[in-house]
Symmetry: C2
Subunit: 83 residues, 2 copies
DNA sequence: ATCATTCGTTGCGTATACGCAATAGGCCAT
DNA sequence: ATGGCCTATTGCGTATACGCAACGAATGAT
């Protein structure tokens, strides 16, 4: 299964699904389906999405689950990676 | 259209299509179809291929054509990038 | 209370990614 | 000359990615 962080990046850019869909040339529903994992994109769409957000494909899609943002940004209080 | 450099990396690793197919869990014909652009892989397969070769997806697949190896490796004699 | 925007979902259609089996040609052994 | 390995291709089947239209619900602005 493929995990993705599209909604995260979309939120950061302040884009609606409609806008993101227009940017990569698909239907807004398609973005929704992909975001919630109903289906995974083609390689081409993955490249376009990564290009739109200015990140590598691996930052958007992954074969293993993404860590929560708190962990990745170096949270201290709850004791994660750097205990 | 999506361009790819699978055959290049496969040649470097000395893998047959059968072996590469086994490594990523598809049929050997599927590798052949993808290599010659008959169809493009899913995002999941692209991730697995990139993982197998130890490169980012963008090194394997691209929305724009890949430059010839000679150019990328800094050829001098025929006058390319660094004239 | 209306209206716009966003999102979730469902249904139906088409294109295509993939599996599997079969065939055929090139090349390199023996 | 036979046999293996690699590759190309074709045909047929299924799963799924996508388009499009429609509807319902939630939010926010006026």
């Amino acid at each position: 299964m493929v995990h993705n962080r599209i909604s995260l990046f979309r939120a950061e850019k302040g884009l609606s699904r409609k806008e993101l869909a227009a940017a990569v040339g698909v239907n807004p529903q398609t973005i929704g389906f992909i975001e919630r994992g109903d289906y995974q994109p083609s390689c081409e769409l993955a490249l376009k999405l990564a290009q739109t957000f200015g990140v590598p494909v691996e930052a958007l899609f992954s074969l293993s689950p993404f860590p929560p943002l708190s962990e990745q940004l170096g949270a201290r209080s709850q004791g994660a990676t750097n205990a």
